[in-house]
Symmetry: C2
Subunit: 142 residues, 2 copies
């Protein structure tokens, strides 16, 4: 908790309970949509208003505390800022899992973008498929 406070203050934001709860929930679940965050936070803080969620997500993304993870065919999710990594999106259950980027990949991308004079700042990789959990569920059901 105390680390979230530091994080917010470093970013020039006041450490309100609403923000702390949002960060806690996002951290705990890894990747969440706005309404998933709202549903979770309202349980521990029933007076929370949707407007506050929206305002906070927006400002925390602006300040770099959160990162928006856009996903094909679904609502975007949000995660805590961390080193660039790969997202494995399960097209069945919608869950997102992280995978570390390899050094080789980063080098390849650096080379490729340099060739076309694109000033690379950030990368987002989404892999779509079926997660191991859904795969085993599918086998059982058949």
């Amino acid at each position: 908790m105390t680390s979230y406070i530091t994080l917010l203050k470093k970013s020039g934001l006041k450490a309100t309970f609403q923000r702390l709860h949002i960060l806690e929930v996002v951290d705990k679940y890894g990747h969440m949509t706005i309404d998933e965050i709202y549903d979770k936070v309202i349980k521990v803080h029933p007076s929370l208003s949707v407007a506050t969620i929206y305002k906070n997500i927006i400002i925390m993304v602006e300040k770099g505390v959160l990162v928006e993870v856009p996903i094909m065919g679904r609502k975007p999710k949000y995660e805590l800022s961390k080193l660039d990594h790969i997202h494995m999106v399960c097209t069945q259950c919608g869950e997102v899992e992280d995978l570390a980027c390899t050094k080789e990949m980063n080098q390849i991308l650096e080379t490729l973008t340099k060739e076309v004079h694109f000033m690379l700042v950030k990368q987002q990789f989404n892999l779509y498929g079926i997660c191991s959990h859904c795969q085993s569920k599918n086998v059982v059901q058949k």
Copy 2:
């Protein structure tokens, strides 16, 4: 034009003027948001309704004719289906350019996902940065 007709019919969709215009516009500009598509198509087909745009984007994505390209902090764009490739998104002008995937990258991803038992079906890579065009504009302005 005639190839779009074939494409639609192969996908089990009737080749209406509305759909042909949508495909033409998306093909011409590469990557477009729903309202960009609407704005362009309405010029050649003024009676077009927004509902038709939505219905068609949805069904053409379902049928695999179009692909949704989700983008951090912006509305999703749509493109014609083609081999997986990398998107370079300019954070300044919002334009999206394509970059071919390399064989090495695909192999790395295959290995990585196999390790964690993720059944990989499709990939989407977004690189965010400043396109060469905006870079030169920026220099001039300073």
